[in-house]
């Protein structure tokens, strides 16, 4: 099968093409964040403007013609309504023009499944760390096959926490990675540490960091922020590892690009003889390839939706999505 996937849930408009589980191309255009976060309507306008170009580039990079496509996937959610709409619209237009099937995809499932495939893991415990989300996941067969949430943040996702703080201390984008760079050479300052079983909370940590931001050195704050927040994630993950007795651990999502977090998780895994892996950064950042990858599986399972039944769902939880 030859399937295209379109991702548009946040600042990235991405298009990927997959053939039998192999990514042929993965092209993206990112809305350039100024300093105010992102305004959904501006971002969706950006997506609308670049959609045609990115789709064309993805086809060219894959070396295929549109009429060779067997199906198309789009991110149904979670994400920003106006942005999701653009991806859905593009998918519908293509499906209409080419007479091919449509598969709606859960964004988080995309990150998890592609990372799992690249890491060569079968049934791992997953730490999914992105902007709005931070969750510990494991496949469950309860009722239907899906990723069950074992633990998650009580308030904000770790990515948003890092970004908010980065903006507060006037670091330039890309926020998450700029905190990592600024942490070099820092010293430890005690910060609030909140883990409840397999859940955790970042808001107290962020509030304290902002309080301290005028008084303490930037590198000390960034260093302590990373050490504290990542230790929390590792602790909750280790607990889930013990509970589920998983032999595999996978990290994915935007913050999975952080090398300090990866090395800490590698320690956790090694301690329990657990295999540990992650996917290439290009798939930890938002991308269309992962959407194509999951869409192909959905279509192969014989599931698709009609042109008139396509929807977007801003709060589409990962545990509501069937996984094939």
């Amino acid at each position: 099968m030859l399937v295209m996937g379109i991702e548009s849930s946040a600042h990235t408009f991405g298009v990927g093409i997959v053939e039998e589980g192999r990514i042929l191309s993965n092209v993206k255009d990112m809305y350039q964040i100024k300093d105010k976060g992102m305004i959904p309507n501006k971002v969706s306008l950006h997506h609308l403007k670049c959609a045609d170009k990115v789709i064309k580039e993805a086809l060219e990079a894959a070396g295929i013609r549109p009429d060779q496509l067997d199906g198309i996937g789009y991110t149904m959610g979670p994400g920003l309504g106006p942005c999701l709409q653009v991806g859905m619209l593009s998918a519908k237009a293509m499906a209409h023009a080419l007479g091919i099937k449509i598969a709606p995809v859960n964004h988080a499932v995309g990150h998890v499944e592609i990372a799992r495939a690249y890491a060569g893991l079968d049934d791992p415990l997953v730490l999914y760390v992105s902007g709005g989300n931070s969750q510990i996941l494991k496949i469950s067969q309860d009722k239907f096959r899906h990723y069950a949430v074992l633990g998650e943040t009580f308030d904000m996702g770790i990515g948003n926490m890092l970004d908010t703080f980065a903006r507060e201390i006037k670091l330039l984008p890309a926020w998450g990675s700029s905190v990592e760079k600024a942490a070099a050479g820092g010293r430890y300052i005690e910060l609030p540490y909140t883990v409840k079983g397999m859940d955790f909370s970042f808001s107290g940590l962020l509030t304290r960091l902002i309080e301290l931001s005028g008084r303490e050195k930037r590198e000390d704050l960034c260093y302590s922020l990373q050490e504290t927040a990542f230790s929390m994630l590792c602790e909750a993950t280790e607990r889930a590892l013990l509970l589920t007795r998983s032999h595999e651990l996978c990290v994915c999502g935007g913050v999975a690009q952080n090398t300090r977090l990866r090395s800490m998780l590698a320690h956790v895994a090694a301690e329990h003889g657990t295999r540990f892996g992650f996917g290439p950064n290009e798939f930890n950042a938002d991308n269309g390839g992962m959407i194509a990858f999951v869409a192909e599986k959905i279509l192969k399972a014989g599931k698709s939706v009609g042109l008139n039944d396509c929807v977007v769902k801003q709060r589409y939880r990962i545990d509501e999505a069937e996984v094939f």
Binding site: P78, G79, L150, M156, S231, C234, E235, L243
Partner: protein, 202 residues
């Protein structure tokens, strides 16, 4: 320090077994975690060890079945050995026939009624022995009357067992906690809340 045979490994601690004066005991040692820096690691291990021993004594005092604590070190707790298995190693059928989840629910109800929140109540921290169950692992416990904290306890349990299993757990819980209605209401609220949100505008 060499504690002898390793009996179990939890997420936070290693458990070693030994015999003293003819009594089989275990020592729960919070060994350093290689993933986190020493400053964070030491303060967490020290604080949790102290709190765990204190709250275990408290729980025992109100009739919750916990291993008896014999001695306390900086990072270690010496306690009675429970002869049995962790509940997460048992099949659903066996859990049901031995009334494991029902009595665990009953014990959590007693704890909540007396202002103890467990903080990590999952089948991994319930031990099933020949003469009934034991609640272990009070490292994340708190003395707290907060309905929110109690709701989180229930949430943790709900996510770690089957639907049916949680039903059994709740039967026990309601029987021993007169204010269980409030906690259950809060549980539903927590589940509906922003934490189940997804991507935000930033």
């Amino acid at each position: 320090m060499d504690y002898g045979a390793i009996l179990g490994k939890g997420a936070e601690a290693d458990i070693y077994s030994f015999t003293a004066f003819g009594t089989e005991m275990v020592v729960k040692v919070r060994n350093p975690k290689a993933y986190r820096i020493a400053q964070i690691d030491n303060s967490i291990r020290r604080a949790r060890t102290k709190k765990e021993a204190r709250i275990m004594a408290h729980a025992a005092g109100i009739g919750v079945r916990v291993p008896r604590v014999f001695a306390l070190g900086t990072f270690s707790i010496y306690m009675e050995m429970v002869k049995g298995k962790n509940a997460n190693l048992l099949e659903e059928k066996e859990l049901a026939s031995r009334r494991v989840l029902g009595s665990a629910g009953e014990m959590l109800g007693m704890m909540h009624s007396s202002g103890i929140v467990h903080g990590d109540i999952t089948p991994a921290n319930i031990m099933v022995s020949g003469n009934g169950i034991y609640i272990i692992d009070f490292g994340l416990a708190e003395m707290s009357r907060s309905v929110e904290d109690m709701g989180v306890d229930l949430l943790l349990m709900e996510r770690s067992v089957s639907k049916n299993g949680f039903g059994l757990f709740l039967e026990g819980y309601k029987g021993s906690n007169a204010s269980s209605g409030n906690v259950l209401k809060r549980l539903e609220e927590i589940k509906r809340r922003g934490r189940y949100q997804n991507r935000s505008l930033d």
